[in-house]
């Protein structure tokens, strides 16, 4: 099962992303108001969904599970680290795709809008999380610090989500996850949008699994190095 998942998940994600690009660029019609610029809607919201809700949601959940004494395991710490690392990449992609859309539509690459500013802050906070992970410490000490940091940073996620409702923003409100849960997009555009969410979520899952395994290997490598160094010192002591 695990081998089959390894074999199929990555290619499936890439095929779905390619299908999304094809549908978004050639099959779906241009928008009545935005014209061709609407095609970024098949990338930007899906990437933002993965970054804000899936990645940082997973990081928050894994951090809670690590801090909870009954479920405390370094596996949750590694999973949170993997989710944050991939999530930061997706957050940066969110800002880049948003800027590409913003330049022709708003006339600027960047504006100090509540949604944009809170997203940028979120990215910086999780970059801080990644910096904290690189501080040398005993694995459980590092895991505890990082879990607390992830939970504090995750508080910004609802602020980002509701920023378009709480403040007067240039950024439009939610198209799908709006207050009435009534999507304001229909037909082939809606299906392509849905496909983009599935494709980028699968891509994220594939990347997180790979990153998680790398983290496990790195830590087991560190432990082996430590054991080897200890046995060498002991051998030196015995010779002396």
């Amino acid at each position: 099962m695990r081998k089959q998942l390894d074999r199929w998940l990555g290619p499936l994600a890439f095929v779905l992303v390619a299908l999304d690009v094809w549908l978004g660029l050639w099959i779906t019609p241009p928008d009545q108001v935005q014209g061709e610029y609407v095609r970024l809607v098949y990338v930007h919201p899906a990437v933002a969904w993965v970054a804000l809700y899936v990645a940082f949601g997973m990081a928050g959940l894994c951090s809670v599970l690590y801090l909870w004494p009954r479920t405390r395991s370094l596996a949750f710490d590694y999973a949170a680290a993997a989710a944050v690392e991939v999530g930061v990449v997706f957050t940066i992609l969110t800002c880049i795709t948003g800027a590409i859309w913003g330049r022709p539509t708003w006339g600027v690459w960047w504006t100090w809008d509540a949604r944009l500013t809170s997203t940028a802050l979120l990215a910086v906070m999780f970059l801080g999380y990644l910096a904290l992970r690189r501080v040398p410490a005993e694995p459980h000490v590092r895991a505890r610090r990082c879990a607390v940091m992830a939970l504090i940073a995750a508080v910004d996620v609802p602020i980002v989500h509701f920023s378009v409702n709480w403040w007067n923003t240039l950024h439009q409100g939610a198209t799908v996850l709006n207050a009435n849960l009534s999507p304001t997009i229909h037909g082939s555009m809606a299906w392509t949008l849905l496909l983009s969410f599935i494709a980028f979520t699968l891509l994220f899952v594939w990347m997180v699994i790979a990153r998680y395994r790398l983290e496990v290997l790195r830590h087991s490598g560190e432990r082996k190095d430590l054991d080897r160094a200890l046995s060498e010192r002991r051998a030196e002591g015995a010779e002396a």
Binding site: V124, M125, G128, A131, L132, V135, P136, R144, R145, V148
Partner: protein, 221 residues
Amino acid sequence: MFRDAALVAGRDLRIELRSRVVLWQVLPFSVLALLLFAFAFGPSQARLVQSAPGLFWLALLFSTVLFAQRSRALEGSPATREAARLLGLDPAGVFLGKTVALFLELVVLEVLLVVGLLLLFHVVVVSWLVLIAACLLAALGLASASVLYGALSGEARIRSTLLPVLLLPILAPVLIAGVRSFQAAIKDGAGLSGRWLGVLAVFSLVYTGLGIALYGPLEEN
């Protein structure tokens, strides 16, 4: 918890009074920051008055990082933490004590910065009540967040570079709300200040609560 907090606050303040690191290093840095901002903006009085709220809070935030480093340095050695454990000090009390000490130091800094703005930038404060409320609420929020992030940031050799990266982004709400409150205080009428003072109060309460709950687990080895 409160007895432990009083002990720790007294110890931190006594150390600062005796070592005078804050007096001779951190406070001069804050005044220097104000002067450098003034050099950068030029001598135009109108421009200086207009930018004074932002400069005040930026100088305060950058100085807070130094205060946080200093506060953590007092607690940072494993021997100090071990001694606190052996004495049976409640971690929540230690957190509160350090927060109170830092709060008082930040209030002194705020007084100095306000005096600097009045003398050097010729700022005229209309609503002192708004300004004092904003400064006190912000000092509490900055102190509690600094103590919590000091505990998060680990060993001394890494802390000097890591702490600003961790601390400054989460202080953004204090910067925004503080600037708006200050603007209301130097303009006629409090206008926006109620909502922004609320932001400062919520920030302070949230970080004090988080610190009380999480400081103990963070200090475990």
